[in-house]
Symmetry: C2
Subunit: 327 residues, 2 copies
């Protein structure tokens, strides 16, 4: 029979609890003790990753669950322009999953932690019929440099990083049972191993290039809505400018529409940000290999419209992921 102490020991062994400058005391006490850097503000965010809601036990390998749980939470720090420092892991799981599955999960999480430069600082475990993960991420940023959702102003250009809809395409491939198809592994990459745009976010914050920012976690149509609402503004987006996922012909014929994926697909974890027009010339077409594309501009009023190739104008309604709408 597994005890909580054994599980915590396993987590400690696999994920470590490196001290370091920021984390003065990691897992093993009632609370972690952190030492914020002088002159920095602290960023903190939490994100659930629940079986049956955010992942499927039968479709997603343990290491993918571990990697992705941490990556998506860390993306919120990227969206502020911050540097992630450490995280807490809240984990509930069935006893059947406290051995090999847990090891795989921790291996994936360790890979993400190393990649993003974070250490485990604490957490909690429980027994539950389902696998429930809750991640709290703490990061830092120089005081006053964080990029909020609320800073978009009339005339600012709207940018996105990368291509939109890739993560949703990966999910479609899995749900259609096509993930074994030869040559299609690559289509799953963004769904299984999303990459928080940390370097890009930090660069935009340090150079004060972006006036507002959010990560595309729920889908462009929903997340642009969040920026506009917080900024008290509207937006005009040009359909043909949106860098869309490339969808294999086979799937297009079966009704998988790249534009719909790009507008409403969630989990890309790309950055959506606005740039004052006078700064736009300082923005390269890509940053460290990640495409940067202007897709529209901020307008007066609260309306968000999509301008189609043929000039038609339609309201862009939030049809991205909503945990309370999804079935």
């Amino acid at each position: 029979m597994t005890t909580e102490a054994e599980i915590i020991a396993r987590i400690h062994r696999r994920l470590g609890s490196a001290g370091g400058r920021f984390v003065r005391l990691g897992i093993g006490d009632d609370a972690a003790i952190l030492r914020p850097s002088r002159g920095a503000e602290l960023l903190v965010t939490c994100d659930p990753f629940l079986e049956g809601v955010h992942f499927l036990r039968e479709k997603h390998r343990a290491d993918v669950v571990g990697y992705k749980a941490l990556a998506r939470a860390t993306s919120d720090i990227a969206a502020m322009g911050g540097v992630p420092r450490c995280f807490l892991l809240g984990l509930a799981l069935p006893e059947t999953h406290a051995g090999k599955w847990l090891d795989g999960f921790l291996a994936g999480m360790r890979r993400a932690a190393r990649r993003f430069g974070m250490v485990l600082a604490g957490g909690d475990t429980s027994k539950h019929r389902q696998i429930l993960v809750q991640i709290t991420v703490l990061g830092e940023i120089a005081a006053g440099k964080a990029i909020l959702r609320s800073g978009a102003r009339l005339g600012d250009l709207i940018y996105v990083s990368g291509r939109l809809g890739e993560a949703q395409l990966g999910l479609e491939v899995i749900l259609r049972g096509r993930d074994g198809k030869r040559g299609w592994r690559g289509l799953l990459r963004k769904h299984l191993h999303p990459e928080p745009r940390l370097a890009l976010g930090q660069w935009l914050a340090a150079k004060r290039l972006a006036s507002a920012m959010i990560d595309v976690s729920d889908g462009l149509s929903t997340d642009l809505g969040h920026v506009c609402e917080a900024s008290g503004a509207g937006a005009r987006v040009f359909s043909e400018k949106i860098p869309q996922v490339r969808v294999p012909e086979d799937l297009r014929r079966r009704g998988v529409d790249p534009q719909k994926l790009a507008l409403d697909g969630g989990e890309d974890y790309e950055l959506l940000f606005t740039v004052p027009r006078r700064m736009a010339r300082r923005l390269p077409t890509s940053y460290r290999g990640v495409l940067l594309t202007a897709i529209g501009e901020i307008t007066r009023g609260g309306e968000i419209v999509l301008i189609e190739r043929d000039g038609r104008v339609a309201a862009l309604r939030p049809h991205g992921w909503d945990p309370f709408r999804a079935v």
Copy 2:
């Protein structure tokens, strides 16, 4: 149909997101922005509160769930001697519970937040068949003043606050369906509305009176084990000195044993701490109305023993709450 935005708006309305000195930016962006106080260290802890594991939907009212979820997480800050500042709320619930139940939950949580001097700084919501709560609490303490589990030394006296076993007695009363019995409401208080010992913890830390500290969340036999293990020490506890819960005769006859409740009962959220012998005379018998009792002393080696009234000596094994042992 409820949307995530509606739920977040409801949380915002009921719990507010007061700014204040510590929380520069609360809920509504990708991450919260906090401003740590100069010279302070940051304390952070997370705690799940899951239906079917930590509470029962049919037995615990919504406001109790809200209050208790925050109280128990905050107790970890008390156990370090810190001052709680803000919290993040991770909440998953069925759509049926997104209205009246949610309001009750938020009312209980608001009461706890005000009582403990905290504000909501962020969080996340999802839809789930079960009610799943995850709380992250952030607090502060003057650098170097936190009281760890690992500081107990040979000869230190072991103290507890309050009476042990009261929370477990309340749970027994509920599980036996006796919570409607006249005059027995008071027996439920500690189970339903535990009180993190914040003032006591802060006083012990500020005066540097305690060498080690933990909160009694899993039960004395388990939590004293954590202190001894972290400190590389053993302990000798005197049975007759333990301030035990008072159990009604009616329940005693039915086998509810006060000593067992005091040793193994969880959720009291009292403080268990060690005090160097030379400091013990500075400790009053109560602090702000909370009883302080010396129950034993720290010994060499890893063994923890209980000395009974008649002089018999028995090993005190961890029989407190373990989420992976409980059924």
